[in-house]
């Protein structure tokens, strides 16, 4: 199998004005590669929610997008506080976002549910004090 196309991003943890930039760039790159619009939309939404979570909850992190022949993988990795209870965090409406973040329109507790909904598979590896690693896969066929 041919080598995957890879995009790497460092997600800044304290710049809200540029939050989402990596996802917007990925959208552009996927368009250039001629990926189907429905797939681009799924990847964009799933990645944006993960990117924003790293900004809001983890002080930033790293994002890698790998494009294979049959799938796109989104790898997110941060050294933030970790998620205490993943099942609870996955529930619609659960959020620990503070008021100043909520006033910007975040904190509905819909980000992780969106990530699950718009990816074909998601694995979350997180523990308190250890940070969070997320892998989302969107199938191309």
């Amino acid at each position: 199998m041919s080598e995957a196309v890879r995009f790497h991003f460092t997600v800044d943890g304290d710049d809200f004005t540029s939050a989402g930039q990596a996802s917007v760039q990925v959208k552009k790159n996927l368009r250039t590669l001629g990926i189907a619009p429905e797939i681009i939309r799924k990847v964009s939404i799933a990645m944006y929610e993960g990117e924003i979570n790293m900004v809001i909850h983890a002080g930033g992190g790293e994002a890698d997008v790998l494009i294979f022949e049959d799938r796109i993988e989104i790898h997110l990795c941060d050294n933030g506080p970790g998620i205490a209870n993943i099942d609870l965090a996955m529930q619609e409406g659960f959020s620990t976002a503070p008021d100043n973040i909520r006033s910007l329109g975040f904190g509905a507790g819909m980000g992780l549910p969106n990530m699950k909904r718009y990816s074909d598979s998601i694995t979350i590896d997180s523990a308190l004090g250890k940070g969070t690693k997320i892998l989302m896969t969107v199938n191309l066929s």
Partner: protein, 109 residues
């Protein structure tokens, strides 16, 4: 109906006109960004009163046709500048979200 035709018909005030020939195919109303992200459909006109910079990325990634700010909301100038750069249409109107949706329904239904 095209964004530019809707804007003219309902006297929407242009704040960023980047791609006004885009077709509006539906409407989504909401201020909570991850609801919009998850539920708005490609081609929707997004009606909101949320006006901070993050609406530009959400509009881009959710692929909405335009943002219509209701209740006369006007964002910071940098929001409009960024929107223009990123190809996002933004308009504002003194109408409420309900009035805007009802008006758009005339064109879409």
């Amino acid at each position: 109906m095209k964004v530019c035709d809707v804007a003219e018909k309902f006297s929407l005030k242009p704040l960023s006109v980047a791609d006004s020939s885009r077709e509006i195919t539906g409407v989504y109303i909401g201020d909570l960004l991850s609801w919009v992200m998850g539920r708005a459909e490609s081609g929707d006109a997004w009606i909101t009163i949320m006006s901070n910079i993050n609406i530009v990325a959400v509009a881009s990634l959710a692929d909405v046709a335009c943002i219509i700010l209701a209740e006369g909301v006007v964002p910071d100038e940098n929001v409009c500048i960024t929107a223009l750069q990123k190809g996002i249409n933004i308009y504002t109107s003194d109408k409420t979200a309900y009035e805007l949706a009802a008006a758009l329904a005339q064109c879409l239904l």
